[in-house]
């Protein structure tokens, strides 16, 4: 493991190696080097399988954190590669040439977070939403409630209860009082 960590650090400036479990680790790289790192991991380090990739909106530090989960089935170990990308200008190299299925994930992230992957097939097409006109809805600065209120008609008279206090009132009215 640590050899790989050193290797990644030496070659690509990877940092923050963290053993989550005995067979699972995570590491951080710069987003600009993501394709090189992935190619190295796939071809040299034995991580032949891209399990999934996703993004996290770390709005506090102004970045989307992309997470690539890789798996080495022969050695039975996994590696999650994190890469921060600037939230203001989220553009990352596509890795669909390394793993064919990556284009689906990239299309998903394009629609949900607005992260662009230039060259990825059909990346600008609709993924799960049809005719979506609002901002990317998985961004944390997207206000779902406001959007919902503005878009969907509401039935008047709807009341919201705190479940705990509501149930207590319903079930044990004497205790509540």
């Amino acid at each position: 493991m640590n050899e790989l960590a050193k290797e990644l650090a030496g070659r690509y400036g990877a940092r923050g190696w963290h053993d989550i479990r005995k067979d699972l680790a995570s590491v951080e790289v710069d987003a600009i080097r993501i394709r090189d790192v992935m190619a190295y991991l796939r071809d040299e380090a034995g991580y032949g399988h891209l399990s999934f990739m996703t993004a996290i909106d770390n709005i506090e530090r102004g970045a989307f954190t992309l997470s690539y989960a890789l798996r080495d089935h022969d050695a039975r170990r996994g590696l999650i590669v994190h890469a921060d990308v600037d939230r203001a200008e989220p553009t990352v190299d596509s890795i669909h040439l390394l793993w064919g299925q990556a284009w689906t994930y990239q299309r998903e992230m394009r629609e949900w977070f607005g992260i662009d992957f230039p060259g990825s097939p059909r990346v600008d097409e609709e993924f799960v939403l049809e005719g979506w006109e609002g901002p990317p809805m998985m961004r944390r600065d997207f206000d779902s409630l406001a959007y919902s209120d503005a878009t969907y008609a509401e039935r008047p008279g709807r009341v919201t209860h705190d479940p705990a206090s509501h149930m207590r009132e319903k079930l044990y009215p004497e205790a509540a009082q």
Partner: protein, 209 residues
């Protein structure tokens, strides 16, 4: 003499590209006069005793329809049976929350059913959004988009509640209240405007025959 006037003008079908407009019927829906008196009451009785529900699970609530068919609840004894095609169904059970994407299919399927047709909305989500009250992609009340005859509250409502809902629906039909189809046709513009407000990529005719 006024027969012609009752036929509304053809729909514009602006959502369709021009080359596709010829592939879809552009007639607008019409109201259909019920029969009169005892005959209509008899027909309504038959309609209520032969409820064929569309086998289209639009949301998680559809899971509650399955037990209805099995031996424990046995909906067949009330004359209710599932039907795989909207053409032959008379009851549409909206199975809980409806996302915008599903709403489009709901509208299409509802319009493809032959009248008289009835809608039974199941679960809190169809009433006021339920737990999806703040979702960016889930409508909050189904009756903005299609006419609803009976609501069944709950999250989820149990099969017994559904059966009660069906009994209520039967009562409504027998009393001559199941005129959702005519209501839809009467307020077609309003319904259509509501639908188009949330369904942005309207790539179907305004009325799906």
């Amino acid at each position: 003499m006024s027969e012609k006037k009752t036929i509304p003008a053809p729909l514009a079908n602006e959502g369709l590209p021009p080359e596709e407009r010829g592939l879809f019927c552009d007639a607008a829906p019409r109201e259909y006069e019920p029969a009169r008196g005892a005959w209509e009451r008899f027909l309504n009785w038959a309609r209520s005793e032969s409820l064929w529900l569309l086998g289209f699970g639009t949301g998680c609530g559809a899971i509650e329809l399955r037990p209805l068919m099995t031996s424990r609840f046995d909906m067949y004894r009330y004359g209710i049976q599932p039907r795989p095609t909207p053409r032959q169904s008379s009851v549409f059970v909206i199975g809980g929350y409806a996302s915008v994407k599903t709403l489009k299919r709901i509208v299409r399927s509802y319009e493809q059913m032959m009248g008289p047709k009835f809608v039974l909305a199941l679960g809190s989500c169809t009433i006021n959004g339920g737990m999806y009250w703040d979702s960016y992609n889930t409508i909050k009340r189904i009756d903005q988009y299609i006419p609803v005859d009976v609501y069944i509250a709950g999250c989820m409502p149990r099969p017994e509640a559904l059966l009660a809902g069906f009994q209520e629906l039967k009562r409504i039909i027998k009393s001559g209240g199941g005129e959702g189809q005519n209501e839809y046709a009467r307020n077609f513009d309003w319904y259509k405007a509501n639908q188009k407000k949330v369904i942005k990529d309207w790539n179907m005719p305004d009325y799906n025959w």
